[in-house]
């Protein structure tokens, strides 16, 4: 696979179109929820992420955004993964995802932990695109803290 195809894996292209978890939905009554709007001033990509928690557990993530296929696919993949995770499990995955993004293509990610998000491994070879992949994750983290 050439570098471009590694960047734009089929999983990413599919998710960028399906946009699972978008648009935003109103939080269910009784659940704690938080919201975060993140913006990449360099390219104008932006995303609004809303998460819901019951106790320690995420119950839902929904989002709305405007951006490149990498940032939109990343939000889609994350909103598929997030429900049922505990806060701690999410933070572990976030750490690993961030580590992968900073690896400049040297890390073989653990598919057990990162699930579909391993498809973003190729992004780490393109430093200018790392922010795109991180945007939804950062928004989800801030939204989670908001909900606390």
């Amino acid at each position: 696979m050439n570098e471009l195809d590694q960047l734009y894996q089929q999983v990413i292209l599919d998710h960028s179109k399906r946009r699972i978890g978008s648009p935003l939905v109103e939080p269910e009554g009784g659940h704690r929820h938080g919201e975060s709007h993140q913006h990449n001033p360099i390219c104008g990509d932006q995303i609004r992420v809303r998460v819901e928690l019951e106790g320690e557990k995420f119950t839902a993530m929904s989002w709305e955004g405007d951006g490149c296929s990498i940032s939109m696919a990343s939000a889609s993949v994350l909103s598929e993964m997030l429900p049922e995770l505990t806060r701690e499990e999410f933070l572990d995955k976030l750490d690993l995802f961030r580590e992968m993004m900073r690896s400049k293509g040297t890390m073989t990610p653990d598919e057990e932990v990162l699930e579909d998000a391993v498809a973003f491994a190729g992004v780490s070879k393109f430093p200018a695109r790392v922010k795109c992949a991180m945007l939804a994750w950062v928004a989800a983290e801030v939204a989670m803290l908001e909900a606390a």
Partner: protein, 430 residues
């Protein structure tokens, strides 16, 4: 302007190939493909003679200018002032009407801060026409690069003046018809771009200048995208000020210029102050040199000036009218070629005079993904809002992909871009 000279022979493909060979970087490959550089709107590549001139300066004449009597200082000062003469002539200005700045952004801020200093009373009565206050208006346009917008927003905040703008129509053309009603006795300054850095369209400067003259308002032209690509003569444009950047016209980074009418520059209070811009200093005050030194505080950018002057001579030798014609041709190929592609939307009025700058959208594919795809084929374009968010908002998009040419671009470069853009949608499955 372009295409109107009639006398000049058009550049031939052979000549362009020879010109291209002066640019070492264009012989390189990126991602296994020959580089196709279509991002000159952001910054131009440099011919060997420009950085060799800088090297020559460091090897033979390096010293601080306008200070000290030793031989090197004299040689450095000569090169610095000769550079001013060359570049001033290149834009049709008198030598002492060209102030060196870091870039166009600093040149525009220089006017903005000098005017707020005048508004605080600095410069006395001589500077009265640069004063602004509540009730006064600054007029700009919706087309502007942020560098020709934010300094005026800030000036308005600092002085209490009001900022107004000439809007654009749906196709991105300026609403010239509104200028007469927007320029009133309250208007003190009219700032507008000569060429849009996004749309590549050439402004009908007369419309602004005539309206401003009628009410005695100052005119500021953003020449960033015109000085590199068109023959520019500040006297026939009849503007009061013009800002431009060296790095977009084959020169080094870190050097730009502000043209100002002699009598205006000499009446303006300084912006940056310190060494090299004074006559007599005591512990309470200082007297200032006339322009241009008044605005050149501190140790100057000497190698950059020499590099930029070398770039201007290089352009002059080829002929700005011939360069403008060639780029008009490339711009036409770009506009027509991209417009003909299915699923591609080109921005900007179809019938406008433009340089070789064309922004577009591949429907269903984000500009960043378009740019990444093109990069994998060695093609460099700019994606994003190109420092013109209000313009993009008016066009109803957050970002575009922009191809922009220069004298070293060939018809093959345009063909390579159009072929690559034609396969973007298939790659992304839309």
């Amino acid at each position: 302007m372009t295409g109107q000279t009639g006398t000049a022979e058009a550049l031939t493909a052979n000549e362009v190939a020879r010109i291209k060979a002066d640019f070492e970087i264009l012989e390189h490959q990126v991602n296994g493909a020959d580089i196709v550089y279509l991002d000159s709107g952001a910054t131009s590549q440099k011919p060997r003679c420009v950085y060799e001139a800088e090297q020559h300066y460091y090897e033979n004449a390096n010293a601080a200018v306008h200070r000290g009597a030793h031989t090197l200082a004299v040689e450095a000062t000569d090169l610095f002032e000769q550079g001013r003469e060359t570049v001033a002539k290149f834009i049709g200005a008198k030598t002492n009407e060209l102030v060196w700045t870091s870039n166009a952004t600093e040149a525009l801020n220089l006017i903005s801060y000098s005017m707020s200093n005048a508004s605080l009373g600095r410069g006395g009565e001589a500077a009265a026409r640069f004063r602004l206050g509540p009730g006064d208006e600054i007029l700009t346009t919706e087309l502007e690069h942020h560098a020709n917008l934010i300094p005026w927003q800030e000036l308005a905040f600092r002085t209490g003046a009001t900022l107004r703008y000439v809007p654009i129509a749906e196709d991105g053309s300026l609403r010239y018809d509104l200028i007469v009603s927007l320029v009133t006795e309250r208007t003190k300054l009219v700032a507008f771009t000569h060429v849009s850095n996004v749309l590549g369209t050439i402004t009908d400067t007369r419309r602004f200048v005539d309206a401003a003259r009628k009410v005695g308002a100052l005119t500021v032209l953003d020449g960033c995208q015109s000085v590199p690509h068109l023959p520019v003569d500040v006297k026939s444009l009849d503007v009061d000020f013009m800002a431009f950047s060296g790095h977009k016209m084959l020169g080094p980074t870190g050097i730009g210029g502000l043209y100002g009418r002699e009598e205006l520059l000499n009446a303006m209070p300084p912006f940056l102050t310190g060494g090299s811009m004074i006559t007599v200093v005591d512990m309470e005050h200082a007297e200032y040199l006339p322009a241009p030194q008044r605005f050149e505080a501190g140790t100057q950018r000497i190698s950059q000036v020499h590099g930029l002057a070398t770039a201007a001579s290089y352009l002059d030798e080829i002929g700005m009218d011939r360069i403008a014609d060639w780029e008009e041709h490339l711009g036409e190929l770009l506009y027509q070629g991209l417009s003909a592609l299915e699923g591609v939307r080109v921005f900007g009025p179809a019938d406008a005079k433009r340089i070789g700058t064309v922004p577009f959208e591949v429907i269903g594919v984000h500009p960043h993904d378009v740019g990444q795809f093109l990069d994998s084929r060695g093609i460099a374009v700019r994606v994003g809002h190109h420092c013109a968010q209000p313009l993009h908002r008016a066009l109803g998009v957050t970002a575009t992909t922009r191809a922009s040419t220069y004298l070293y671009n060939t018809e093959e470069d345009i063909k390579a871009l159009i072929e690559a853009v034609a396969s973007v949608r298939e790659y992304f499955g839309v």
